[in-house]
Amino acid sequence: MENIKIKIDNIDVEVAKGTTIYQAAKKVGIDIPVLCYLNLEHLNIESRPGGCRICVVEVEGRRNLAPSCSTECTPGMVINTHNLRVMNARKTVLELILSDHPKECLTCSSSGQCDLQTLSQKMGIREIHAVEHAEMSTYRKDFSPALKRDMDKCIMCRRCETICNEVQTVGALSAVNRGFMAVVAPAFEQDLVDSPCTFCGQCVAVCPTGALTPYDDTQKVLRALADPTKTVIVQTAPAVRAALGEEFGLEPGTLVTGKMVAALRSLGFDKVFDTDFAADLTIMEEGTELLGRISKFLKGDKDVKLPILTSCCPAWVNFFEEYYPCMLDIPSTARSPQQMFGSIAKNYYTQLMGVKREDLVVVSVMPCLAKKYECQREEFITDGNPDVDFSISTRELASLIKSCNMNFDKLPDEDFDNPLGESTGAGVIFGVTGGVIEAAVRTAYEIHTGKKLNKVDFTELRGLEGIRMATIDFDGTPIHIGIAHQLGNARKLLDGIRSGMYNFHAIEIMACPGGCIGGAGQPLHHGDSSIIKARSEAIYREDSQKKLRKSHENPYIIKLYEEFLGHPMSEKAHHLLHTHYFEKDKI
Amino acid sequence: MNKIKSLEDLRKMKQNLEHGMNIREKSNEPESLVQIRVAMATCGIASGARTVMNTLVEKIEKEKIPAVVTQGGCMGYCYAEPTIEVRVPGKDPVVFGYVDSAKAIEIVEKYIVNGELLDGIIPTNYKTINDKN
């Protein structure tokens, strides 16, 4: 590769051809501010509309200022990133953006996490000129069960549009209108619930302002906790423990399982349980279903539906209900761990504890926004009482902990309660792409072959590539496995299957980049994808430290089947732990 | 329509077509051309000016003479109709009277092409034909 020599702020830099000014500057420690530019390099996601014009720099000999995010270096370039002309331009443009932005930072739900706010502080904006006659572009607010849209705060960075269309291929959002009223919105500026939105929430995860924020149920949780007639239990998803610490200034990838349990207990939850337990349960059901289908197939049954697709990810479920209505019988019928937990809690745990269903409140802490939508699906509500009452995100839990005056760092490490708090390493890795299928393989292998699996780490299933494929030897039977994360990759994989290009026995799909660890309820990554990588490593670390690493070895799972469910795929299990899918038509 | 198959075909086609357009081309540069005006008022038409005009148009087209034939109103020489005015670039305009087809051809061949003087010139003291309009 050819190298190019340039000069940035009087520093000589040598970069490869094709490097942008922004990247070159970063190489020598110059942080040019950006607002619309997004580059999640570990995930191959880039959004570079060149629209905010905050990253402009002066290039000697050029008539106007250059957007550093999208201007490639050319030999001999002399660049100035902070002279008066540049600073004045940058500040004026930022002022312009702020002149069309509500001044309600104190009460904004993104306050403290807002890139625009951070930039204003960095640039030392103290007043916005000529604002008294300035019209603001305003839009109707939109509340969905998972996320809120307040597009008055939109700065047209277009990240959400890129994510929704190019990364997720959902197509719920598009830039609409022109000029001053241009905004990103669903068709006809209708509500998201009426659009094909899957509530994956990745638009929220990349929004630099408070335009797209999660729907927040924490007040309802606080009220339930304060209600003496209610027994309130909580389940925490595997990905939460690998990210929650970031909200308290800990290094990305720090595992905070014990402190999280302590905090939840301190918040007043009667029992602190683990979704990982339900993940183990999912493996029992889904793995059995997988093996059932494979053995039928191997016996020559031509009607059996293969590949089996995982169904843990609620955004993915929404996606195939919307876009692949003809394939509704292919995914596993197993409910997601959140919903399995809710069902077991409301139907089994209530018996165990002798509380009435309506007096038990199940709260889930999830890295995910689609979970908020999932727990409200009709099929998971019995007599008006949902299996999972409220789902709050990792970020919401963090703000609860902060608001309850806890010093998170100083909390002791505590253990989950039993029986629904015990889990294996297989349950833990549900939080990362490839984890569900790896967990399923660990169990299915032993059940299918009747042999003990010595090497439980299937590294061939791990990694952050969007689409991965592997073949696992089930003692002579090759099992073909496909893995995709991000819905656009899922679409590619599915279209490949439909066209006969691929042939798989089982496929795992997660909607979010990196799996649940990259969920939209997690602490914001602000464009730094190395954070997601660190979380993934933390998850595998937790798995490797577990004594038990195969779901079917979880003693409480064994007990649950013995005492209550009978066996996997039993009628009771079918009733409580499985579901069915509906065609949606909102395209 | 037949397809044009080569540059040569195109050039031939152009040559065939340009006749019809010549009159417009010439009107673009009247100063550099011989201008022939035929008096075409009632008296002129009655005396056969239209035939004379047709003859002139055909003649200059045939001989490819850089000339343009226009029509004008009565020049006031009704006794001598049909009359034509000829302006050769660089020379004073000349008016011919009693012009018939044969005379017209003679005017073209002798006066315009060879610059010979002819009979039938009406001595005038007018400046141009237009002043009479």
């Binding site: 269309n165 609409v176 209108n177 022109r178 068709a187 006809f188 094909p196 | -």
Partner: protein, 159 residues
């Protein structure tokens, strides 16, 4: 915005339009032109059918419709009035002409009278600058329009 309940035959004609462009999303703008010619405007229902046929998101279709000023989601009046607001017309008083139309019809630019008879729009340069200010009603061009003539012009439309 007004929607249109589509009949089978409507859907068929939209499909025919899309098919004539081989359902190529690259021809979306041409398809929208044809559909607008057919329906007079581009209601939500029409956009949905087009999106589905071309296998693109309806949000994208809507994004395109709202980008180009030629496309409209509201039906026009029986007589669509367009006042040229190109520079030549502006300098020669087009603004006063628009104001007079607004006053006479009691609608805003972009609006339709209640009886659906007239709609009023402004447009950019029809290229008849010699006749400035210019007003178009349907296909008919009115040149050198003065505010005083507006009532007379409107009265000449009796249906």
């Amino acid at each position: 915005m007004s929607n249109l309940k589509l009949q089978e035959c409507h859907i068929k004609s939209i499909h025919d339009i899309c098919d004539s462009y081989k359902n190529d999303p690259g021809d979306l703008i041409k398809i929208l032109h044809s559909a607008q010619t057919h329906f007079g405007y581009l209601p939500e229902s029409v956009q949905r059918v087009i999106a589905k046929r071309l296998k693109i998101s309806v949000a994208k279709v809507y994004g395109v419709v709202t980008f180009y000023s030629f496309f409209t989601m509201t039906p026009k009046g029986r007589h669509a009035i367009s006042v040229c607001m190109g520079t030549a017309c502006y300098v020669r008083g087009a603004e006063k002409v628009v104001d007079e139309f607004k006053k006479q019809l009691n609608i805003k630019v972009g609006g339709v009278t209640e009886d659906g008879k007239f709609s009023l729009d402004s447009l950019r340069c029809v290229g008849a600058c010699g006749l400035a200010p210019v007003v178009l009603i349907g296909e008919k061009v009115y040149g050198r329009v003065e505010p005083g003539q507006v009532k007379e012009i409107l009265d000449s439309y009796t249906d």
